[in-house]
């Protein structure tokens, strides 16, 4: 892996000595819709001084960084891209928790200048929080190209906070942005824009109500107008915070009901419409179109990419290229690494340690780490780079659009296509890829389905065993059987997991040049994050297996399970050992099987039926330990255990069924 180029922060004057920290460093918080250039801005500010981490208990990525600005240490937090401060997705919940509890000193709201009206909707919600804020009108270069002329002073006057134009990709306007932000940090901003008379009256009444109660500290820290608006919206999180004050909540609801009776819509819908009305008014006054833009090249390309026939052709080509790239590059790099590790092993055993110690260190500890590296580096690096490129270019959204109809049949929506498709390559990136979906429920379903899809390691077993010794069509039948299982599992999960299937509601970002530098940098920080959480589990798992083997417990376990293996599954007892080790790395399963059976001519020692059943079990039983590690991280320990156990049970049950059906068929025919 080559290190991405280290770019000095444009804001960091060369040669400035890092100063001693004087008190707490001011914290800037980046907020904004998805795809407005927040990550670019964040990276331009922080350079390499950053970490990507998770919000405690949530699978929401938070990037944290520091930089030096005019001799001062500053901290920046990049919140996930959101469209609203309601709390219907984890991202929104995390962002709101962060902002409402005053964890930052000043908020930088990044806006896409070309879609100002929609972006002002979130900005208005931020203003409801009455925190110090600056609006960064980003992507000004594209706005200029489209002939848009934007009056920043008018926006600043209307919104009550300063506005700065930026072009994050070119590093323009950032210095002024940070200066302005620092100048306003910790200062009370002008009052937020008001909405229509009826809404404001209702808000005032609820505020009066709040003033009469002694509220908990979690709520008194927030502006009363914000609390009132959220109560009128029947925001579940706010109602939870005020669970101890049922009279207040009930009274607020009756005020909301009055509002609803007048308009014939829910209060939340009315308030949303009010915000859009204000945003529309400001945008109409501030944005002037000097020339009417023609259909640009990007738009023509977009029509092609979304076309029913041409779009699908392009999609298939892109997927194919992606696969080829990940597995060509990955396979090549894995080969190199394996060679290097073999040499390393030789050198290690040549060190002259006693046999027992050498075995203990190598097989128990080092091998696990190396196995982790040879899974992670070769396949994860290209995966992360490609995913980041697809995301930043806006193509991911086009893929989701095209595949929405198919995924709908699985009870998911278009965005689930990516992780499930990636599952054919490697389950680890597939499970990590479920993050592109907003809802936990969709993430979980897609995550489970992705682990049920045969990854390349399992493909090796299917092709190397069934394909080579039983026949082409039996191998194909395994894939078809697997598709059926994925389909049924999708339907079943969709029906039985709580919550509704929300369907696809997604912004279609403009197609643009993805910028490889940013992708490489994001890859580097995500890899660091992966190493931190996956390696301990991988090492612990391989150590456990080593101890079992070292104690000589594997053969007795195989012997103990022999009745089950032989009668129920119809397999030789040693296969149990292969299956246990397969949890570590499935691509090793065939090699181990050969070692234990004493031959690679599997056709001589195993019957077609045995090979088929064995391949079926390998196909479905627990994903490898790295996958379990990422699954645990994304969905929690309980889910990881539950899903692993469920998949083992499914694999054994199906294996047994196939075994017996085959046997019965044999008896009838024979």
């Amino acid at each position: 892996m080559s290190h991405p180029p280290v770019t000095p922060s444009p804001l960091l004057p060369a040669g400035t000595p890092p100063q001693a920290k004087a008190g707490a460093e001011p914290t800037l918080v980046l907020v904004g819709n998805a795809n407005v250039g927040k990550s670019v801005l964040f990276n331009a500010l922080t350079g390499m001084n950053q970490t990507i981490g998770n919000w405690p208990g949530k699978t929401v990525e938070l990037a944290n960084g520091t930089f030096l600005f005019q001799g001062r240490h500053l901290r920046v937090v990049d919140l996930p891209g959101i469209y609203s401060l309601s709390t219907y997705s984890q991202e929104e919940l995390v962002a709101r928790e962060f902002l409402a509890t005053g964890l930052g000193d000043v908020v930088i709201d990044v806006l896409d200048s070309t879609v100002l009206e929609r972006n002002l909707y979130l900005a208005l919600q931020l203003r409801e929080l009455e925190t110090p804020a600056v609006l960064a009108l980003n992507l000004t270069d594209i706005a200029a190209k489209q002939g848009l002329d934007i009056d920043t002073e008018l926006i600043a006057a209307e919104m009550g906070v300063p506005v700065v134009k930026t072009t994050a990709a070119a590093g323009k306007g950032l210095e002024l942005l940070v200066e302005t932000a620092l100048a306003h940090a910790g200062k009370q901003p002008a009052p937020a824009p008001r909405y229509g008379r009826e809404v404001e009256e209702a808000v005032a009444r609820v505020q009066g109500l709040l003033a009469t109660a002694t509220l908990p500290a979690t709520v008194t820290g927030m502006p009363p107008r914000f609390v009132a608006l959220k109560l009128l919206e029947r925001d579940p999180e706010m109602e939870r915070l005020l669970a101890g004050f049922p009279e207040v909540v009930a009274e607020a609801q009756s005020i909301a009901a009055e509002l609803e009776a007048v308009h014939g819509h829910e209060a939340a819908g009315i308030i949303a419409a009010e915000r859009y009305a204000v945003a529309g008014r400001i945008a109409a006054a501030a944005v002037h179109r000097s020339s009417t833009g023609r259909a640009s090249g990007a738009e023509r390309l977009d029509s092609l990419l979304l076309h029913r026939v041409l779009g699908w052709t392009a999609l298939v080509l892109v997927m194919f290229a992606m696969f080829a790239l990940i597995f060509q590059v990955g396979g090549w790099a894995a080969g190199l690494l394996d060679g290097a590790f073999a040499a390393l092993e030789e050198a290690f055993y040549g060190l002259g340690l006693s046999q027992v110690w050498a075995n203990f260190l190598w097989q128990g500890l080092i091998q696990g780490v190396l196995a982790g590296i040879s899974v992670a580096l070769p396949y994860l690096v290209p995966f992360y780079v490609i995913l980041s490129v697809l995301e930043n270019s806006g193509y991911l959204a086009r893929m989701a659009f095209l595949t929405d109809t198919i995924m709908h049949r699985l009870g998911l929506h278009g965005k689930a296509f990516i992780p499930i498709f990636l599952g054919y390559g490697c389950s680890v990136p597939a499970v990590l890829g479920t993050r592109i979906m907003e809802r936990d429920r969709d993430r979980l379903i897609a995550g489970i389905l992705a682990t049920l899809v045969p990854c390349s390691a399992r493909t090796v077993v299917i092709l190397g065993l069934v394909g080579a010794f039983v026949g082409f069509w039996p191998a194909v039948s395994l894939y078809l059987l697997d598709l059926l299982i994925v389909f049924l599992a999708g339907r079943l999960l969709n029906r039985h997991l709580p919550g509704e299937n929300v369907g696809l509601i997604m912004e279609m970002p403009r197609l643009r040049n993805p910028g490889l530098r940013l992708s490489l940098k994001q890859t580097w920080f995500r890899l660091k994050d992966f190493a931190a959480f996956a390696f301990p589990i991988i090492v612990a798992g391989s150590f456990l297996l080593f101890v079992l083997e070292w104690l000589g417990w594997l053969q007795p376990i195989a012997a103990f399970l022999a009745p089950f293996t032989q009668t129920v599954l119809g397999l030789p007892p040693v296969t149990v050992i292969v299956l246990v080790f397969g949890v570590l790395r499935k691509e090793l399963a065939l090699i181990m099987l050969a070692a234990l059976l004493g031959t690679t001519e599997f056709g001589l020692v195993l019957s077609a039926q045995q090979m088929y059943v064995f391949a079926l079990i390998v196909l479905l039983y627990v994903p490898c330990i790295s996958t379990i590690a990422v699954f645990r991280r994304e969905f929690g320990t309980r889910m990881a255990v539950l899903v692993s156990a469920g998949e083992v049970a499914l694999a054994l049950a199906l294996g047994a069924t196939v075994n017996w059906v085959w046997r019965l068929a044999g008896m009838i025919v024979g």
Partner: protein, 217 residues
């Protein structure tokens, strides 16, 4: 306005159409309350199902009376015949037709009069809207429309409102895939909506919006 709950499934629709068909052959007219009292439909979201059926033009809503369109009658008859066959089979196996459980449901359902009245009122409004040319966004041709109503669950409703597709918003349909998702422009931004989502957004062509004032700004 319905809360987060299960989707209307095919069985709901079929049961509803079947009941309507059965009542029609018996020469009975059906109101919402009558349908809710049907044992087959107890525990099903009758009002929401009728909303969906009305939007698919399988039923007509007139003065609280629900009747089948030719299209709806066709489906209803098919389901009815299928059920009769199944029932005959079951009876020949010695199973009883109506269970005490169903009777219980029936009694329980009729108690909640307020809910029935609210649902009636909603359906009545919907009937009026349909007469005035309100359609589902997924059936709309390219062009500009004003959103009249979201008949979606709570999460979906919030999301749509936040993305600028709430009641009163003007959207322009740009691209449609048959039986698939659509792209629309709302408040200057382009959105992709799955077909199921678009089916829950009721819109009126912009020229007709005068009769459906948006929530006042």
């Amino acid at each position: 306005m319905r809360d987060e709950q299960r989707e209307i499934c095919r069985e709901d629709r079929e049961e509803c159409l079947e009941a309507l068909y059965r009542m029609e052959t018996q020469g009975r007219t059906a109101s919402l309350a009558d349908l809710m009292a049907e044992p087959d439909l107890s525990q099903r979201p009758v009002a929401d199902t009728l909303t969906d059926l009305a939007l698919e033009r399988k039923i007509r809503l007139e003065n609280e009376i629900v009747s089948l369109t030719p299209q709806g009658r066709h489906t209803g008859q098919r389901v009815f015949e299928r059920h009769e066959l199944a029932e005959r089979l079951l009876r020949s196996l010695g199973l009883r037709e109506a269970s005490a459980h169903e009777e219980a449901c029936r009694a329980e359902h009729l108690e909640d009069e307020g809910a029935v009245r609210a649902a009636c009122c909603r359906l009545g409004r919907l009937g009026a809207m349909l007469d005035e040319g309100v359609i589902r966004l997924c059936d709309a041709d390219n062009g500009e429309y004003r959103v009249v109503l979201l008949s979606a669950g709570r999460f979906q409703r919030r999301r749509l409102e936040d993305m600028g597709v709430g009641p009163g918003a003007v959207v322009r349909v740009e691209r449609r895939h048959r039986h698939g998702p659509i792209t629309v422009e709302a408040h200057g931004a382009r959105l992709a909506l799955g077909r199921g989502v678009a089916a829950k957004i009721l819109v009126a062509p912009v020229t007709q919006c005068a009769s459906h004032p948006a929530p006042s700004a």
